[in-house]
């Protein structure tokens, strides 16, 4: 299925490398046995159970709040509201923006579904039953809900990422061809299968929280500030997370509430969100209205790009969603303007959802380019190739890696793009109209500092750890591989652990940035251990390795030997035993690549997506029988899990393209489809052939050559589907999801 470019990026070793191979997941046996412990599986002695009461209006103030009946209900231990809850400070600024405001601050209602009380009882049934007994009345005001509401407070350039190059207005005016239009994307909800859960327990002044988070390190910092305790007194645990797709990037109000209740009651508190609460409590991909103009020469060379995007954010919260900004870096185009605008609305706060901002912005950009190609009678693939950005469009530096051309070429070949008749409605198979569509993707580079710790034990096994998370991405497995190859210890004797804020600090699983940052830190820690083992034998007359540096030795099979002289070496176990060491440990770290220092622009992943759609000629039913994704992900650490990331993202992209739309009632701000029965996501029958090709070389900006692949799988699918639907039917759909009613 896939081809993986490999090169020796691991230093000197003499066993077959496991990096790049499709090693089975190291946590696979536990997950398939039901033995992996997710936060919702945690049960502590004396544990109590909490249930949320949420606002049923979108704006106003609480007039009356009657809790007596709930408090008198069997098993109820407390009912916390803004009237009796201790005031808490907001969490700190994070790498992704401000923390959510503290819960239960006052009587104001800012969105439908806002938490207004927490009921804690001995059992989940008692808590849920009592929560229904809390009586609330409101003084309501007219909520600001739509991106077209003139009352909405407007924030221009909220992330300082607006781009200006050249003179786009003049270039558009004089261009030989142009496409101008408005594209819209709806609210989507992350909806991981795992209901978000928090189990909080205080022991004296120390807080332990089991939580559905992608970022234990940030959780610890945040909870320490909110509860005014030292960071060392807070521990956040997330060894397994039932998916998150961005929803786990923040310490949400319900997490604070659970920890607060546990402190008040001096007992463990468990809070598991309901599926409906997953729509209002842990973020969503915000809807966008995007005005976009692309202009070109008569032969399709882009001369101007003008992309303006408006999205919503909660009244007093934060979200990073620069949808237009990423268009400035996708193509070689001399005249560019991007403008991102956020409007304050009475909505639950949006947050990152797989490929945040890029997922929405790419739909408009790649749809517009398809329209431009069609207007010029140019093959859409050819149009992309003509506008390939050989250098980084923002700073003009050479890319640290860029195989986007190869993505286009290899993907087109695999897909059979040359069989495409350019005329819309020209390809038919029985009752079905057949359409081919494609899109390109340039995913932004992202990196954060990361730390890891590695230990070689006296029995020759290794233990490597960092406070990262594995939300299904394969982090446990690929970091086991990196550790095994760097230390020269078979993967079966390496334990990589994560999901614990007591471990060395890690950035979030997000932004497609974890693998690069963590792999570099893990490698650094493992090399540190090798150095310390060599320190042990520096003056050891019994060791053939005495006086050696790391450059003099080769590792493999749990031992080190002199380069090119396999007989002259010894095992780690022997060295540690002779020197009376139980273990040898070293810390490692990584820092983000610096473009100026490198003289290169660090590159994210690139991709080309090719999609076949079939549209029932009479009924308009749309199917996606076939997707080819050609991805430049740099050095692929594990062919199997990386491929799963791409196909998983592709399924998410099919959801965005055809199914997913969170519907908010225009009058009340209530989410009208907050169930899996009403909010449609792809099911098994919606997904058939998924082909993934990995192309390109290891990236030059990271020691292991990796680039993140967690998000690029999703991006481009929506545009490629919409473009294929146009090819099949002749109908342009500029509004997601593409549904059959738009084709009739």
């Amino acid at each position: 299925m896939s081809t993986v470019e490999s090169r020796d990026v691991r230093g000197s070793r003499d066993a077959a490398p496991v990096i790049g191979t499709g090693m089975d997941r190291v946590d696979g046996a536990r997950k398939t046995a039901g033995a992996a412990g997710y936060p919702s599986d945690v049960q502590l002695p004396g544990q109590t159970h909490a249930a949320l009461v949420q606002s049923t209006v979108a704006a106003g103030r609480i007039r009356t709040l009657e809790t007596a009946a709930a408090e008198a209900s069997p098993g109820v231990l407390t009912v916390m509201t803004h009237r009796n809850a201790p005031r808490l400070p907001d969490g700190p600024m994070t790498a992704l923006g401000a923390s959510p405001p503290a819960p239960l601050r006052d009587d104001r209602i800012l969105h439908h579904g806002q938490h207004i009380a927490l009921v804690v009882a001995e059992t989940p049934e008692q808590a849920a039953a009592a929560a229904r007994l809390v009586r609330v009345t409101y003084d309501t005001s007219d909520p600001v809900l739509g991106l077209d509401d003139p009352r909405a407070e407007r924030m221009d350039n909220p992330w300082g990422m607006d781009a200006d190059r050249g003179d786009p207005a003049e270039a558009v005016r004089t261009a030989e061809a142009k496409v101008s239009g408005t594209w819209t994307t709806p609210d989507n909800t992350n909806n991981p299968l795992g209901l978000f859960a928090t189990v909080a327990v205080w022991e004296r002044d120390a807080l332990t929280v089991h939580d559905s988070t992608q970022w234990p390190t940030m959780g610890r910092v945040t909870l320490a500030k909110v509860f005014d305790v030292p960071e060392s007194a807070v521990r956040v645990l997330a060894p397994y997370v039932g998916g998150a797709f961005g929803a786990g990037l923040r310490v949400w109000p319900h997490v604070i509430l659970a920890a607060l209740a546990a402190r008040v009651l001096r007992r463990p508190v468990k809070l598991v969100l309901t599926r409906a609460q997953m729509f209002t409590s842990v973020g969503h991909r915000p809807s966008t209205v995007q005005h976009l103009t692309v202009a070109s020469t008569g032969t399709g060379e882009l001369v101007a790009l003008d992309h303006r995007c408006t999205s919503g954010v909660a009244m007093e919260d934060d979200d990073f969603e620069p949808c237009a900004a990423t268009s400035a870096l996708a193509y070689a185009c001399p005249n560019v303007i991007t403008r991102d605008v956020q409007l304050r609305l009475n909505i639950p706060d949006p947050t990152s959802m797989r490929a945040p901002a890029v997922g929405q912005g790419n739909f408009a950009l790649e749809s517009a380019l398809d329209e431009l190609a069609h207007s010029l009678s140019t093959d859409p693939l050819e149009l992309r190739l003509r506008n390939y950005a050989a250098e980084h469009p923002g700073n003009g530096l050479p890319w640290s890696s860029n195989a986007l051309r190869e993505c286009y070429e290899a993907g087109a070949e695999r897909f059979g793009w040359s069989r495409r008749d350019p005329e819309p409605r020209s390809m038919r198979d029985g009752d079905e109209l057949v359409g081919y569509g494609m899109a390109g993707v340039s995913y932004p580079w992202y990196a954060q500092p990361c730390k890891a710790r590695a230990t070689v034990n006296s029995d020759g096994s290794a233990f490597v750890r960092s406070a990262a998370t594995d939300i299904g991405t394969g982090t446990y497995t690929v970091m086991t591989q990196v550790s095994a190859d760097t230390l020269g210890i078979p993967p079966g004797r390496v334990r990589f652990d994560l999901g614990d804020s007591d471990m060395p600090q890690s950035p979030q699983a997000g932004g497609s940035g974890l693998t690069g940052a963590l792999a570099t830190a893990v490698r650094d820690a493992c090399r540190g251990v090798l150095g310390r083992i060599l320190d042990l034998v520096r003056d050891d007359s019994e060791s053939p390795l005495r006086g050696c540096t790391i450059g003099d030795v080769t590792v493999g099979g749990g031992r080190m030997h002199l380069r090119g002289r396999p007989a002259e070496g010894e095992s780690y176990a022997d060295i540690l035993a002779r020197h009376g060491q139980v273990e040898v440990t070293a810390d490692g770290a990584s820092t983000p690549a610096d473009a100026a220092e490198l003289g290169m622009a660090p590159a994210g992943a690139f991709g080309a997506k090719f999609v076949e759609v079939r549209v029932d000629a009479d009924l308009g039913v749309i199917r996606v029988p076939r997707v080819v994704s050609a991805i430049d992900g740099g050095q692929i650490l594990n062919e199997k899990t990386a491929r799963s990331q791409i196909i998983g993202g592709t399924v998410g992209g099919i959801g965005q393209a055809l199914f997913e739309e969170t519907v908010t009632d225009a009058g009340t701000g209530r989410i009208a489809n907050a169930t899996f029965g009403d909010y449609l996501v792809p099911v098994n029958a919606d997904v058939t052939q998924m082909d993934v090709l990995f192309v390109g070389d290891p990236d030059r900006a990271t020691p292991l050559g990796t680039k993140g692949v967690g998000e690029i799988g999703l991006v481009g699918i929506a545009a490629a589907v919409a473009n294929a639907v146009h090819h099949a039917t002749g109908t342009r759909v500029r509004s997601l999801p593409v549904t059959l009613d738009q084709l009739l």
Binding site: G28, P45, G75, T123, Y240, I471, V651, F676, G677
Partner: protein, 175 residues
Amino acid sequence: MAEALSQRRAAGFAPEAPVELHVNGRRHRLHLDARVTLLDALRDSLGLTGTKKGCDQGTCGACTVHADGRRVLSCLTLAAQCEGREVTTIEGLTAPDGGPHPLQESFVRHDAFQCGYCTPGQIMSAAALLEEGRADSDEDVREFMSGNLCRCGAYTNIVAAVRDVAAAGGADASV
């Protein structure tokens, strides 16, 4: 577990009833709030947390278990309804020799999961498909596994994993 039960009693709950559950070949005598679902009884009272709650509304399939050999959504089944029925959960799913069920190994080999949360339900559904003879084509597996949502999007690998076991002879296969 005993402590949780005593807490429930201490809470003075009226609608509590004795329930005898047969799960994975073992008998459990419980006193349960009459509102407790089979899912919550398995997870909270018996500590069998392999069965997952994804929606509590019968729409995601994560809570799929077998009752008398048939797939049921344990979130839509009251524990009290299961008296006298043989319930099998992911913890009780094994090959005839007592080792891992071939589906469990096949799911790992085909990387048929990512976060793993829906996986016990997927495997329980797949095991039923094998018994029902509904795993003879990719199309059948896709159709009859469509009640089990996977938000990570592992569907194609799930189909491959199930088909591999079906082709090798189903649950009795030594794969």
